[in-house]
């Protein structure tokens, strides 16, 4: 039995539930035979990957799903051997730069050139000369180092007869300008409440068994859906997972059923409440244990900082003792921005998280009557 998120993943461009404009655009690109390099960007769970695979399916047919994993070996400049896996089908291959750490430049240079310099000989499509290129999907393209991105530049132009790149990333801020100018940007926005709702609705309609444990009234169902959309930040994948989890945890679901939150979010929430109510040195020491706990469960420090900031924002709004709420909020966000930068520059996360908490305590202390 597969997860709903996988089971109900649309396979073709026509099956896609929302962003009709993008689907039309992709399908006209796929049929024209004039397929440019693409750069998909959008929040996670918005459906970037689904759209790419659907497009590829339109170009190459179901062949695209015959995936295999090839281990590849590369030799770096320092003669160190580097092994990593390439997921490939006859017509495309997929790489994830985070697998290869700082050596992504070597991989990009070697692998892409190797693919690009070999022409596809395909006897099954003798009549069809249009799509004689291979597609290389680069996941998490924002993690490519500058060097690797620079290495892509000329390859994209020089070998464009044999290769098309599809870059996938959450934000294009760290993609260098020359790459952006060589690709067609495709923005995949997160689904709205209604769009998520209609997807959930479709899933339930498909399984009458499951639908029984949800309220029969449509507006009540919609309320649950928007609740799910809210806690998952409009991430459709986690949304579906959450829906499935709700179903398997609760015999019947009403609008009052609490959402299942990850433990670490609850820990952060408690931590934030503690800091706002008690601003002392001993509290700071306590929070250190909490922070260490979170970090040792490999919650990224940046995520902790972001969640804390959002929690503080909410708590300041609710707390009646704080005067001049706007200034407090502004100060907290400003501190967050400073410490967030330090987190990316520095190497010892705990210092910066503690520094941030201390600063927030100072800001609050000044403004509490």
């Amino acid at each position: 039995m597969s997860l709903w998120a996988d089971k109900y993943r649309p396979k073709t461009l026509d099956d896609l539930d929302y962003h009709g404009k993008i689907s039309n655009m992709l399908s006209s690109l796929a049929t024209s035979g004039d397929f440019p390099h693409l750069l998909f960007h959008g929040p996670s769970g918005a459906g970037k990957k689904t759209r790419i695979l659907a497009t590829l399916r339109q170009i190459y047919g179901p062949n695209i799903e015959k995936l295999k994993v090839d281990p590849k070996v590369f030799v770096t400049a320092t003669k160190r051997k580097l092994e990593f896996n390439v997921v490939s089908s006859p017509n495309h291959l997929e790489i994830t730069p985070s697998d290869m750490n700082n050596n992504d430049r070597v991989v990009i240079q070697d692998l892409l050139k190797e693919v690009a310099q070999t022409e596809t000989i395909d006897f099954t499509h003798v009549a069809d000369h249009k799509n004689r290129f291979k597609v290389v999907i680069i996941n998490e393209a924002e993690l490519l180092t500058r060097d690797a991105q620079a290495a892509l530049r000329r390859t994209m132009e020089k070998y464009s007869a044999n290769i098309r790149l599809v870059l996938v990333c959450n934000s294009i801020s760290s993609i260098i300008e020359p790459i952006k100018s060589r690709t067609l940007l495709i923005r995949v926005a997160a689904p709205t409440d209604e769009e998520m709702g209609s997807v959930f609705e479709k899933v339930l309609r498909d399984q009458p068994e499951v639908a029984k444990s949800f309220p029969a009234d449509e507006t009540e169902r919609q309320q649950i859906y928007s609740k799910i959309a809210k806690v998952t930040d409009h991430n459709l994948r986690t949304g579906l997972l959450l829906l499935e989890a709700l179903y398997s945890y609760n015999p019947s679901i009403t609008t009052k059923t609490p959402m299942i939150m990850p433990d670490w979010e609850n820990v952060i929430k408690k931590l934030a409440i503690g800091i706002v109510t008690e601003r002392t040195v001993s509290k700071l020491q306590q929070s250190r244990t909490d922070l260490y706990e979170l970090i040792s469960h490999s919650i990224p420090a940046k995520l902790i900082l972001k969640k804390l900031t959002i929690e503080f924002w909410r708590l300041v709004d609710e707390d009646s003792k704080i005067k001049d709420k706007d200034t407090v909020k502004m100060d907290i966000v400003q501190q967050a921005s400073i410490f967030d930068e330090r987190l990316s520059l520095g190497s010892k996360d705990i210092f910066h998280l503690e520094g941030f908490i201390t600063k927030v305590m100072v800001v609050l202390e000044k403004n509490v009557s």
């Binding site: 404009k21 655009m25 024209s32 440019p36 960007h41 132009e157 464009s160 801020s173 502004m330 921005s337």
Partner: protein
């Protein structure tokens, strides 16, 4: 699709290079005398640096001889110090071959080879310093052409050995002519207004506009050009500024959340705020503008060091709302 238009319409002769008349004049003179110094081209992307040197090499050697006389290395090739020591040095010290009589008749065929180091600003300093002596030692048979975006990334000893040419961003009249030429020979149905809009988006980067014309021309009817280019629609920027002016922090927070969900990325938000608040805006006084540019600068610097977009943008918006 076979070749990208950028390659297809790359100028074949020096005179065909759009704009850059100063550079072209100097270079054509050198072409006549068939003698040239080491060259260093710098300037923003898409201004014709690579095109110029490729066209020049073609005119110097002709298409046949070019293969043996020109070595082109760019950032997609390994260019560490070992490559400079081996490949570049070996090529540099080869003596020149004799051109065939036909080539000699049609092209100047000067007695030296040409090494083009494209995107040289991504070379390490070590590799660059390894170049220093090579450039001098073999100057009787080899010329270098170094191309980069940022001249500050090239070490001084190299810059002092070359004659420098700055490529300025193209003016719109020239680029418009090129785009028109391309759209005519590709038989595109596109009006001048859309072409001008494409040029506006690409900020003087001709390659960007040509690429955009190629990738996007089929979609122009279906969607606005701004949208295809991934820019933020003007009315959204307007309502963003209105929200900032309202000084209602929670409203600002909601607005940002909406922007993030719609996946408008912070770099474009920054640029559109910059053009809207600093370049066009009339209702801010000078002091406010100074403050705005300081805040934009700080956010940009924090973002480029890889910090979280949501927090940085929230900070940016809150700081900006303080100014209004």
């Amino acid at each position: 699709m076979s070749t990208p238009w950028v390659e297809k319409y790359r100028p074949k002769k020096l005179d065909e290079v759009s704009a850059q008349s100063n550079v072209i004049r100097v270079l054509s003179n050198q072409l006549k005398s068939a003698n040239m110094p080491h060259l260093l081209f710098y300037g923003p992307p898409g201004t014709g640096k690579t095109s110029t040197i490729l066209a020049m090499a073609r005119e110097l050697f002709g298409p046949q001889l070019m293969k043996s006389r020109v070595l082109e290395l760019n950032a997609s090739d390994e260019r560490g110090i070992s490559i400079v020591r081996d490949k570049v040095k070996n090529f540099a010290r080869l003596s020149v071959t004799n051109p065939t009589p036909e080539d000699k008749e049609n092209y100047p065929c000067p007695p030296y080879k040409l090494i083009i180091l494209d995107e040289a600003d991504s070379m390490t300093f070590d590799a660059q310093s390894a170049l220093r002596r090579i450039m001098e030692n073999y100057s009787h048979i080899t010329r270098f052409c170094i191309i980069c975006n940022y001249i500050t990334r090239i070490i001084d000893p190299i810059t002092s050995r070359c004659s420098k040419f700055r490529f300025s961003p193209l003016n719109s009249a020239n680029s418009l002519a090129t785009l028109k030429m391309i759209s005519q020979s590709e038989e595109l149905d596109i009006d001048d207004d859309s072409l001008t809009q494409i040029l506006d988006i690409s900020n003087g980067d001709l390659r960007k506009s040509i690429n955009f014309l190629q990738t996007g021309h089929k979609l122009f009817g279906e969607d606005s050009i701004e949208n295809i280019a991934g820019l933020i629609p003007q009315n959204l920027v307007q309502s963003l500024i209105e929200t900032l002016q309202s000084k209602n922090l929670n409203k600002i927070y909601e607005f940002l959340y909406m922007l993030v969900l719609k996946s408008y990325n912070s770099a474009t938000i920054l640029t559109s705020l910059h053009s809207c608040l600093l370049l066009k805006n009339i209702y801010l006084n000078s002091e406010q503008k100074i403050e705005v540019s300081r805040i934009l600068y700080e956010t940009d610097s924090k973002l480029s060091s890889g910090s979280d977009e949501f927090i940085q943008m929230l900070n940016l918006f809150l700081q900006l709302s303080k100014i209004f």
